[in-house]
């Protein structure tokens, strides 16, 4: 089924924050931020800037009527720095002017005197200095310490994974205006309206009911607008509140990249023990997470790294420890996968290294250790309806892995400069917020007297198609045409105390709440139809395709007539409903429980061709068998899967975030930070649906789709490693993502110079 919300998109009629026609007199804000990664403000001189034409006012920390604090989980992040500067790009002042250009001109005229301190940009260095945001967290299963003696092979190593910039195409932005009674209304591009509402109320010292947050849609989020849309919303709220005028802020791309956090870089140590047959007996891993200068969502992200540290494998003895390290980078934040990918990259690196030592293909170890039914995760939950092995089996059968391997071998024998590499990547991802509290949602459904339907929930539409899925839920339950159903903006006055649209759970949680609300209304309508048709309670009444049926026979009642008659009888045609995922729990002190409603599984096969002279590469194909449950909308779900895979591949290959040792970001524009373009897409991408209705708590037996497929992208790293080894069998593989062309080239020819000479010489003699 087509996504009807897309029609406005192709007509150019969809509105984003910056597209809303601002009221007369709207002011524009720009941010003055820290030029250094660590230091102290000595003096802030605003005089010249204030005197410029069209500048209205400049706000600093001392203008905040409430608390200068936006940290959502841990209160450790000021909206505007007033003393210590902790990262380059940390907001210090807000310039408000008549237009955007004047605001930016004035920012350049602000003079900051500071004392600079040495900056820490590396997680391990922060760890050594004791800069931890929370105490270390440890997950364990079995007894890793005593399991090593039973292992035939023990391999140790390190793995690094880099940051990733979100590059949602719509930059961060917000628009706020004062409303009567001293309140404020904020139109924000946020994944978490309640988070924005709570923070703005705190900043303005207002009760939450005086701050209304409204969200139309987002031009991409990917986690980058879960916690980090808050600052800009609060700034416009502050300025609008103080000036009693509408204020808008839209970050330009460079400001956005410089001032917002990214996916957390991780540096990790691993130790893996196996039998000589390749069965993993023990795994010990230590994660050093580069949180940046404030907690933001780092602690929750750290948890998910631990939850997913064994990926799709059953390992009987595990000890996983994670450190949340405070550095002088912009606070890193949620990014699709939320720490899971970082954990999974390490176990895959460990398996790759173990396979090298055992002299087998990594896929042998991967397959041998895949999860089966009733296997226990390190956090105590056991697998249920486990699709790890079925998806693997289907992938290697359907796509004929044996033939693929033969072709690669043949190609590599016949080609000296070009080499192909092939790798498999199984995934397992838990669905639910790991903070159990957040697994709740509410919906408000109105049926109007003309039969049209309006729905408000906490879900944010950011391209993932949640609005379409919610429409499908209502249209299915009422059995009416989908064009009757409208999804309203996400608004804190209609849906209060909502969780962020995150953790892939938007459709699950909000869909369930919509389902309950629609069923409430339907029940009343059926009762009303019963009276109307003067039927007995034992009679079967149902609405099918907008017509009321009595005991299977069509009646004269249509949806419209039923709705009107019910209204005339003073029946409520509205319902508010709340949903909380049943059965999930997690004991933080024991680090055991059942935190996830269910898991999503799947297997990808990725093949690359490397040009071993230039270090460049192409992606031949990505072939996937993915566990969609019973997909509610295959067009949306397939596109989600393909897009996530590309983002995962980007993270592993060309997307490189580079800071100087002074904490200055070098890759601060779209010309220096490269995301995949059309040329970088795989020549072939195939996603097969594992036909498996999900019996767990998900809407209409579907499964969450947003995040899990991103982790298939990890497979490309090891495809590239295999191609490198096909070129030079004794190449030393380093686990350091992203595998940029430069890194790959260095691995191909290390030690530089000598090998190349020998190879070229050999080549010439062959000729």
């Amino acid at each position: 089924m087509k996504n009807y919300d897309w029609i406005q998109h192709v007509r150019g009629e969809s509105l984003f924050v910056d597209d809303i026609t601002p009221p007369e007199g709207t002011l524009h804000a720009a941010v003055f931020s820290s030029p250094i990664a660590h230091g102290k403000i000595i003096n802030l001189d605003l005089e010249i800037a204030k005197k410029l034409n069209d500048v209205i006012e400049i706000f600093t920390a001392k203008d905040i009527p409430g608390e200068n604090q936006i940290g959502a989980i841990i209160p450790d992040e000021q909206l505007l720095a007033d003393g210590i500067l902790d990262f380059c790009g940390q907001p210090i002042a807000i310039v408000v002017a008549k237009d955007n250009f004047s605001a930016h001109q004035a920012v350049k005229q602000i003079k900051l005197e500071f004392q600079e301190y040495s900056a820490v940009t590396d997680a391990r260095e922060a760890f050594q200095k004791g800069q931890l945001i929370i105490p270390p967290q440890t997950f364990s299963l079995g007894d890793a310490d005593s399991a090593w003696k039973d292992c035939d092979l023990i391999v140790e190593g390190t793995a690094e994974s880099g940051g990733q910039e979100h590059i949602y195409l719509e930059t961060q932005g917000s628009f706020a205006f004062p409303v009567e009674g001293g309140g404020i209304k904020i139109i924000s591009s946020t994944q978490a309206p309640t988070t924005v509402q709570r923070a703005a109320a705190r900043i303005l010292n207002l009760p939450m009911n005086k701050v209304e947050v409204d969200v139309l849609r987002l031009g991409g989020g990917f986690g980058g607008k879960e916690d980090q849309a808050t600052a800009w919303a609060c700034m416009t709220a502050l300025a609008a509140f103080k000036l009693k005028r509408p204020v808008k802020i839209i970050l330009n791309r460079q400001e956005d990249i410089r001032m917002t956090g990214k996916r957390h870089p991780y540096s990790s140590d691993f130790k893996i023990g196996l039998t000589k047959e390749g069965k993993i007996l023990a795994y010990e891993v230590t994660f050093y997470q580069n949180a940046g200068a404030a907690a933001d969502l780092a602690t929750a992200i750290l948890d998910r790294t631990l939850f997913h540290c064994t990926n799709s494998y059953f390992i009987p003895n595990v000890k996983a420890t994670a450190y949340c390290c405070k550095t002088n980078l912009p606070p890193n934040t949620a990014f699709r996968g939320f720490g899971g990918p970082q954990g999974m990259f390490v176990i895959e690196s460990a398996i790759y290294k173990a396979a090298e030592k055992l002299g087998v293909d990594p896929m042998v170890i991967q397959e041998k250790n895949l999860l089966s039914e009733d296997d226990e995760f390190p956090y105590g939950q056991k697998t249920k309806y486990c699709m790890a092995r079925p998806s693997w089996k289907k992938a290697i059968g359907k796509y004929n892995l044996g033939e693929m391997k033969n072709q690669v071998e043949k190609f590599n024998l016949e080609n000296k400069i070009f080499k192909k590499g092939l790798a498999l990547m199984p995934i397992c991802f838990g669905i639910s917020f790991t903070n159990t509290m957040l697994n709740q949602a509410n919906a408000l459904v109105h049926v109007y007297t003309d039969g049209s339907i309006g729905i408000s929930t906490g879900a944010i539409e950011m391209g993932q198609g949640v609005n379409m899925k919610l429409r499908q839920v209502a249209a299915t339950i009422f059995s009416v045409d989908i064009s009757r159903v409208k999804i309203e903006t996400t608004n804190t006055s209609r849906a209060a105390n909502t969780s962020a649209t995150a953790a892939s759970s938007g459709a699950d949680l909000n869909g369930k709440a919509v389902q309950i609300a629609c069923n409430n209304i339907l029940e009343r309508l059926i009762k009303s139809a019963q009276q109307e048709l003067k039927s007995n309670e034992t009679d079967q009444i149902e609405v099918k395709d907008e017509i009321v049926y009595l005991n299977g026979n069509q009646t004269e009642l249509t949806w419209n007539i039923l709705v009107q008659k019910s209204y005339a009888k003073r029946t409520s045609l509205s319902s508010q409903a709340h949903y909380a995922t049943p059965g999930i729990h997690f004991d933080k002190s024991k680090v055991k429980g059942e935190p996830f409603a269910y898991h999503v599984y799947g297997t990808a096969i990725i093949q690359v061709t490397v040009d071993c002279l230039r270090g460049t590469y192409e992606i031949d194909f990505v072939k996937v068998v993915h566990d969609f449950g019973k997909s509610m909308n295959p067009i949306i779900d397939r596109s989600q899967a393909e897009g996530a895979i590309m983002q995962g591949i980007g993270w592993m290959t060309i997307e490189e975030v580079i800071y100087t040792k002074y904490g200055k970001l070098l890759t601060d524009s779209m010309s220096t930070y490269k995301v995949p373009d059309v040329y970088f897409t795989p020549k072939e991408i195939e996603v097969d649906f594992l036909d498996n209705p999900n019996p767990s708590a998900a809407i209409f037996n579907s499964k969450a789709i947003g995040e899990p497929p991103l982790m298939y992208g990890i497979g490309i790293y090891f495809s590239l490693c295999n191609a490198i080894k096909a070129f030079r069998s004794n190449a030393e593989i380093k686990n350091s993502a992203p595998m940029t062309n430069e890194k790959l080239l260095l691995m191909l020819y290390e030690p530089a110079g000598q090998n190349l000479k020998r190879k070229l010489k050999n080549k010439m003699t062959v000729k």
Binding site: L169, E170, I635, I636, R638, G643
Partner: protein
């Protein structure tokens, strides 16, 4: 200065400052907000519009440069309620997620068709190489454009 140009078929006379960018003329003055600003440096293609038959990044063009020109934006693609075949195929193949790159992507493809009604896959890729999409992974976009060529 005053310029005179055609926007989506309509003759328009407008008074503007010399340093105004085309994107600001479209979005701020003409309220044609379908054209999006993604990077301001010509890297992402979200602001692509058609000037005299060629796709251009409207963030890199001064408004005064379109004096006497024929400009088409995403708002000019459909005829009333009837979507063009290209727009319909974007819907059919799910070539859209968040919708922010969509207008630019459509305009690049449309400009290609103005020049070459039967482009090859390579020519399609070249036409949209300057348009970044962070959501879809491009496959459905290529499918939508390709099937517009073949009339599928």
């Amino acid at each position: 200065m005053i310029i005179n140009f055609k926007i989506n078929g309509k003759e328009t006379l407008i008074n503007l400052t010399k340093n105004k960018r085309l994107i600001d003329l479209l979005r701020d003055d003409l309220k044609l907000t379908g054209t999006k600003e993604g990077c301001s440096i010509g890297e992402c293609g979200a602001c692509t519009v058609i000037v005299n038959g060629k796709a251009v990044n409207s963030c890199l063009v001064l408004a005064q440069q379109v004096d006497e020109c024929d400009v088409i934006t995403v708002e000019g693609l459909a005829e009333g309620n009837k979507l063009s075949e290209l727009q319909q195929n974007f819907l059919k193949y799910g070539a859209i997620q968040c919708g922010f790159c969509t207008p630019g992507m459509l305009m690049s493809a449309y400009a290609l068709f103005l020049e070459n009604p039967t482009p090859s896959r390579e020519e399609i890729e070249t036409a949209i190489e300057g348009n970044l999409c962070r959501c879809t992974g491009y496959k459905p976009i290529i499918q939508a454009i390709t099937s517009t060529v073949s009339g599928e």
